[in-house]
């Protein structure tokens, strides 16, 4: 909103427009309020998504056993308290959709891009406050539709979060492919519109609204990550939109983009000449970059938090930026590794194996640079720091098994087994969630002007960290044993009987992990109202957001926007009194800026 940028340069900008409750808290155009709206909507969706996973974990550990909780929550879909197979599939589908898109894309990127981009680059607000507001409300609308789809007669979408046709295209194939799928597609189409508006806004803001002295090479790594993430989103989300639109055409208008030669429920359908493989290509052209849309912001947040809490410059700033760019580029040319055995030409499989394994290189650089940043640091073990270290740990553990899955040969036997489930949950699910938690603990004072309770944070982290490994480490084993994912139960195969007790272990850890999130929820809500009031710069950090007053104001800074004189990582710089030198402090006489 250029008018804001123009008139907030004046000292008394606050008096220009009277804010009502509606414009301040509901239809706000202020990036800080929009960030909070994203966070709270994201957390709400997260509660639904995580609760769903606990429900189907119960079914997996104690298959076809009656649970009162199923009766309560699933009603007629759990006759006598036993979960119906269609409901199981619906739960895994919606769990995946909600966690990937609504929590880890909108909840993570939406929250922190909005909060930090203007504050860290020294801007009064986003380039367009109006588009930003529309972006949030489209996200909110899509959330409402997705949640509403849980209540339709035949149940929500149940074809897996990838909704491959024909399963997702034919209501005859499963009940979830009726009204539930229609709502899923509508919700996602709106979600994509929201994401695109947000991303374009982030890109424009970073390119145009940086304060004086904030060159691209002085940008904090958080901003680099958000910026590149937005670019990936703009490049890849439209392709998912086209896939969704074509699928809607096939479903509702009788076209044959993805369908051909189908006989179902005693009837030959008219579709001719389409191919589900085409859908897979379109889906994964977004689907794989989506992994990095989820992960890069988490890595950006981690970079910032590790440097601040290690009281050390992030090691290899240039290499970190280069690896973000390399990952972003590679992420758009590896989608085929989800399709090695889809029936596409095996030669394509070779190409995608090559590009996929290349991603390990920038990823390894990032991991090593994090580790080196810790070396000889003065580590301040705040909850945000613990989650950041935890992220590096799960990123390594989960990332390494990617070397197996990215290899077309090895993929043959572990494709679509629990090995995949374990891999991606660690490398993008848990890692990105840790990034989200780290960000919340670290910027809570900035968002709400209060501190979260650190000891509850410690309990939250340690229980979660142990339980997360407890859930996903054993899962590799049942995957290597050949157990396919998305099975309602494995009791149909006596061969898998010896995996039953592993499933019980996993579920017990999952329940513990779920309980630990209640601690976080308590801490979050309680601290919002009763937390200790925050100082302006509680973590003694260098970035610009901490130069803004605790009390939120429109335009972020009273008076002029601070100018930037150095990069964001002058921690423990020799010759300085304090162990941090914020970006807006001019260089001292004779002090050299690091050539990075």
């Amino acid at each position: 909103m250029s008018t804001v940028a123009a008139h907030v340069e004046e000292e008394d900008h606050g008096h220009h427009h009277k804010e009502t409750f509606i414009t301040k808290y509901v239809f706000s155009q202020d990036h800080k309020m929009i960030a909070k709206q994203y966070l709270i909507t994201g957390l709400f969706m997260g509660i639904i998504g995580i609760a769903m996973s606990l429900l189907f974990r119960l079914q997996l550990a104690w298959p076809e056993q009656p649970f009162g909780i199923f009766e309560v929550l699933l009603g007629k879909w759990a006759p006598d308290g036993v979960m119906d197979p269609n409901v199981y599939l619906a739960l895994v589908t919606i769990h995946g959709t909600i966690m990937v898109f609504f929590v880890l894309t909108a909840g993570l990127s939406g929250t922190f891009s909005n909060l930090l981009i203007p504050l860290q680059i020294g801007a009064r607000d986003m380039a367009s406050g109006l588009l930003n507001m529309i972006s949030f409300w489209l996200f909110f609308l899509s959330s409402v539709i997705m949640v509403a789809s849980l209540f339709v007669e035949a149940g929500p979408a149940a074809a897996g979060w990838t909704i491959y046709p024909p399963l997702s295209a034919l209501p005859q194939a499963q009940p979830g492919s009726g009204m539930g799928m229609t709502l899923w597609l509508v919700s996602m189409a709106i979600f994509i519109a929201s994401s695109l508006l947000g991303s374009l806004n982030y890109i424009v803001t970073v390119l145009n609204l940086r304060t004086k002295g904030m060159t691209m090479t002085r940008l904090p790594l958080t901003i680099w990550a958000f910026f590149v993430t937005a670019i990936i989103g703009v490049v890849s989300f439209p392709v998912l939109l086209s896939a969704a639109l074509l699928l809607i055409m096939d479903r509702s208008f009788g076209t044959s983009f993805f369908l051909s030669d189908i006989f179902i429920q005693g009837e030959v359908l008219h579709y001719q000449g389409g191919s589900p493989v085409l859908y897979e290509h379109l889906f994964w052209f977004l689907g794989h970059p989506e992994v990095y849309i989820v992960l890069l912001p988490a890595l950006g947040i981690t970079s910032e938090i590790i440097a601040t809490n290690a009281r050390k410059p992030i090691f290899g700033y240039r290499a970190m930026v280069a690896s973000i760019l390399a990952i972003a580029f590679l992420s758009t040319i590896v989608w085929g590794h989800h399709m090695f055995i889809s029936g596409m030409n095996p030669f394509l499989g070779s190409v995608f194996t090559f590009t996929t394994l290349l991603i390990a290189i920038p990823s390894a650089v990032k991991a090593f640079n994090y580790i080196t940043t810790l070396w000889k640091g003065n580590l301040q073990m705040n909850p945000a720091m613990l989650f950041s270290i935890g992220l590096v740990s799960t990123f390594i553990t989960g990332g390494l098994t990617g070397i197996i899955l990215g290899d077309s040969t090895l993929d043959i036997n572990v494709h679509d087994t629990y090995f995949v489930v374990a891999h991606f949950h660690l490398v993008m699910g848990i890692s990105a969630l840790y990034g989200l938690f780290a960000g919340v603990y670290h910027w809570f004072p900035k968002m709400f002007g209060r501190m979260m309770n650190k000891n509850l944070g410690y309990v939250h982290f340690w229980v979660t960290a142990v339980a997360a490994y407890g859930v996903f480490f054993p899962m590799h084993f049942i995957g290597m044993a050949g157990l396919p994912r998305r099975y309602y139960t494995n009791t149909a195969f006596p061969y898998f009987d010896d995996l039953a007790n592993i499933n019980v272990v996993i579920t017990v850890f999952a329940l513990i992990a779920g309980a630990a999130q209640l601690v976080f929820l308590y801490n979050f809500i309680h601290s919002m109202f009763y937390g200790k009031e925050a100082e302006q710069n509680p973590w003694r950090s260098n970035t610009l957001e901490w130069t803004a007053p605790v009390e939120h104001m429109h335009g972020n800074w009273p008076g002029a926007i601070p100018h930037v004189h150095r990069w964001a990582y002058d921690y423990s710089k020799p010759g300085q009194e304090e162990d941090f030198v914020p970006q807006h402090i001019p260089l001292k006489e004779g002090e050299e800026e690091l050539q990075h």
Binding site: G316, I371, L410, T417, M480, G531
Partner: protein, 354 residues
Amino acid sequence: MTLALSLTILVLIGISVWQIAKIFELSQAKKENTQVANDEDNQFNGKLMFAFLLFIYGITLFSFWKWGDVLLPAPASEHGTDYDNLMWISFAIIFFVQTITQALLHYFAYKYRGKKGQKALFYADNDRLEAIWTIIPVITLAGLILYGLYTWTDIMSLEENEDALVVELYAQQFNWKARYAGQDGVLGDANVRFLQDFDGRNLVGIDATDPNGLDDVVVQELHLPVGREVQFKMRSQDVLHSAYMPFFRAQMNCVPGMITEFAFTPNKTTEEMRTLPEVVAKVKKINKIRAANSKELVAKGEEALEPYVFDYLLLCNKICGASHYNMQMKIVVETPEEFEKWMTEQQTFAQVIQ
């Protein structure tokens, strides 16, 4: 009753976690209240970081000790051993890297835990170091990529082979069928349009006007001769399915509207597999579990479980609807003589539609 009970339990758990959190918070509120980590926190959490390293190692060792026997079942195809070699080499590399990096990460977190007055080392860059840890992964991955691609091409290239057995795998919600080419070695044309011909006896939609199809044989249990290459043509009539045969390290999606392919040579008969020590131990273990479960079932007045006997399996591994979890077919690998004998007992398509 269970409903009310579990609802109450859920609510109580919620309340108790909330209350514990609250008590916890109140108990330490007085001492000091900046909510920023102090030396005590750094000490405590730094040490826990080290303990966590031990936990990661521990859970790894424990899992291998306790569940190591469920990993990759014995390979039963010629390329299976190549597959397994590549898998174990990749695993060795992964474990090496995992052990070292997790150690460094958590040890540094422990070793350099903060103290008041201590200053961190200002160390922002080292090009040589970064070059080293860029180049090492490059070399390792180049090796893995080359090895992987070599194996991949080997497995996936379907060469003309006069002696190969051609089998069609046919998927539908929620079962499998197999079709053999018969005497002429050529599968007859087929399409879902023909499925309703002959009162539903045309199980996989063979075109009755194509003479190649008349001697085709459609079965519900897959029999394969040992030592002979099998070239599979996969079809699906409704949604995506995936033909997954873990013992043969084989998998390929079945896609409506197109024919996909995969080939392998089984090298152990079902009988041979049943006598492998590894398989014997596995069957014994499973039957022990089944016996225990049976006892519970009998106590409840239900039927006991059948004892488990090893068989090769074909599973569906692409979500396909409600009974996806039970879409399976038994595979029997036998000697060529047994196979021929079995084949002569089957009805050809011409016989079925008479």
